[in-house]
Symmetry: C2
Subunit: 365 residues, 2 copies
């Protein structure tokens, strides 16, 4: 018996009609206690499990759209923060959010294929990753709209930021506040955003500036990368990173080596994840809130009006000055148009908990 038992099976076994089985199943009353028991026993014996598809078809239950959110969810609080507005918007629009955490390219592809095979979602939300053109085409044929966040995918609406400008902004800020020997700690090259930030950084810092690639986006990875970097370039006085956690790792290593921050070396992060203000990390803020809100709206309109095209948007980044950089003397070049700068207050790093409670609160999308 490879197949799942159905109400027919249990009806036969209990010596009743399927209607009766259905009744006890739904507690619709009007069933003799004896027969109910018999039916329940039969269900238990056969390990019956109702088929929800059949039920929903029969009951004409609401075809509540399910949005599959595919992303390396647990890698960083960036995704958590993006998902917050997303979740709320979707709930308000009466859609379900199904979370699919993917850690690597293989996992992602396998998942996408499965989603397509089983049509297990009505909308696809992909973060920081691409989709093969053939897969993209497949979803299109199936009528499953795709929306991309933090990744520019041709042919589908996406919200992105100018990562190239962001990378440059980091370098510029470091320079503006006095660093002369810059370096960058980046993450796995699989991420397009990282590669773009690297490029932007190199453009602004000069190609001589060393770039160390961390093996992941964790603090540990950042620390290891910083160690390697500092071994080769002990005189560095400004380290940018492509991610806040990496920056924290860099800072740990710097401290372990007795370098003072920001006096000896300045450090910047990227994202402005939650708690970075408490940690006093200078960083480049991504409009995570806006990311989530935009994505929710886009997928919503795509589901309600399948053929209506949605225009992609590009949001801007801003530098948040905190305790790991010094006061900047020059304004950042206006060249990086898409990136704006804000300096709430020159919060010198002192205690373990340091809050920049100024303009830090709301992001400026």
């Amino acid at each position: 018996m490879a197949l799942e038992p159905t109400i027919y099976d249990i009806a036969r076994r209990a010596g009743v009609g399927i209607a009766t089985v259905s009744r006890v199943l739904n507690g619709s009353g009007g069933v003799a206690e004896a027969t109910r028991k018999a039916v329940q026993k039969a269900m238990a014996d056969l390990g019956y499990r109702p088929n929800r598809a059949a039920r929903r078809l029969a009951v004409r239950g609401p075809n509540r759209p399910r949005i599959a959110a595919v992303m390396p969810f647990f890698s960083t609080n960036f995704y958590f923060t993006v998902c917050r507005p997303l979740s709320q918007s979707l709930a308000a629009a009466d859609m379900d959010l199904v979370l699919y955490d993917v850690e690597n390219r293989e996992g992602k592809l396998r998942l996408l294929d499965r989603l397509a095979d089983e049509r297990s979602c009505e909308g696809l939300l992909i973060c920081s990753m691409g989709v093969g053109p053939e897969r993209q085409e497949r979803f299109a044929r199936l009528g499953i709209p795709i929306v991309c966040v933090d990744y520019p995918l041709e042919g589908v609406p996406s919200v992105t930021v100018d990562n190239l400008a962001g990378g440059a902004l980091a370098a510029e800020q470091l320079i503006a506040s006095g660093s002369e020997r810059l370096a960058l700690v980046t993450g796995p090259s699989a991420a397009l955003a990282f590669r773009q930030r690297e490029e932007g950084f190199a453009k602004a810092a000069g190609n001589a500036a060393p770039i160390a690639r961390a093996d992941g986006v964790s603090r540990e990875a950042g620390r290891a990368a910083a160690a390697a970097l500092l071994d080769g370039h002990p005189r560095l006085d400004g380290i940018a990173t492509v991610n806040d956690l990496l920056a924290l790792g860099v800072i740990e290593e710097l401290r372990a080596r007795g370098r003072r921050i920001p006096d000896d070396v300045q450090v910047t992060g990227f994202d402005d994840q939650p708690l970075m203000d408490a940690l006093g990390l200078s960083t480049i803020r991504q409009p995570m809130l806006a990311f989530g809100e935009w994505a929710a709206r886009a997928i919503q309109s795509l589901i309600e009006a399948p053929r209506t095209p949605v225009a992609s948007t590009r949001l801007s980044l801003s530098f948040i000055a905190r305790g790991t950089t010094r006061q900047s003397h020059h304004q950042a070049p206006a060249a990086t148009a898409a990136a704006t700068t804000s300096r709430p207050r020159a919060a010198k790093a002192k205690g373990p908990i340091k809050t920049g409670r100024s303009a830090d609160k709301k992001e400026r999308a």
Copy 2:
């Protein structure tokens, strides 16, 4: 036309058979370009949206169990951390994780009713919240197993910790390291865990110790509560909290008032969320990883073998000493059996980023 159009509708409109419609729908090939276009136009015109229930029934698609995870997901990183192992376990077991963020009691009840009405999940995972007995009974009848995390619900398997002991542990640690005038900053009384921690704290700190109730579990709420507390009791030298974020808020307020930590006043958190080590917060660690793993296993076995009872478990808490408390002189009383203590290293708070890289890494479930 209140009803959704079906393939019959579009078949009629396009002047073809339903099979053809189905073909273009699935890209199964073997359709003349002309007819395909006609069909697609009809679909567009009628705003056709395939009914997934029908499809899955017809195709006998895998009845992949969907686990609805109901919790105040975005309130704290506690849930994020619990969900990580949960997500991975479920994925490995071939189940989908559907996230339902609920912010309050009403939202929760409404959601639970909807889940039951629509049978939109095969398993229910509830965090930090109860379910009404009638609702519980309803899910039971529907054959939808429930598992509770961080909340002891009679009749359903649950993972919990001894919050009473946890509250006491906080007070004891504060006392052991020299505080004499204790206070507690707690959260909304709706949360059972908070109430229990309050009770435990009061028992160990004495009923004279003031308890301030914050209006939420955010840093802002913690800070506000601390302000009120300090206004009324300026000489406090030890403040425990029921949540890390609250503790961070307390610390902000303390610093704003020029009190030194831990010299003038010691502070403890609760949970040991991610980054608390970097922030140097002394706290009581919850076994979040184990929470998630256990829940995944429980729901799994309940789905595979519906009638098999699963025993609840209670995991233990441990105190993690970091920079916001002083070195303790006495061992914590052995009375709080369920709670163990560990002091990796007396990390004096110095820089904005301070890492206790010792035994901090893995939790001790």
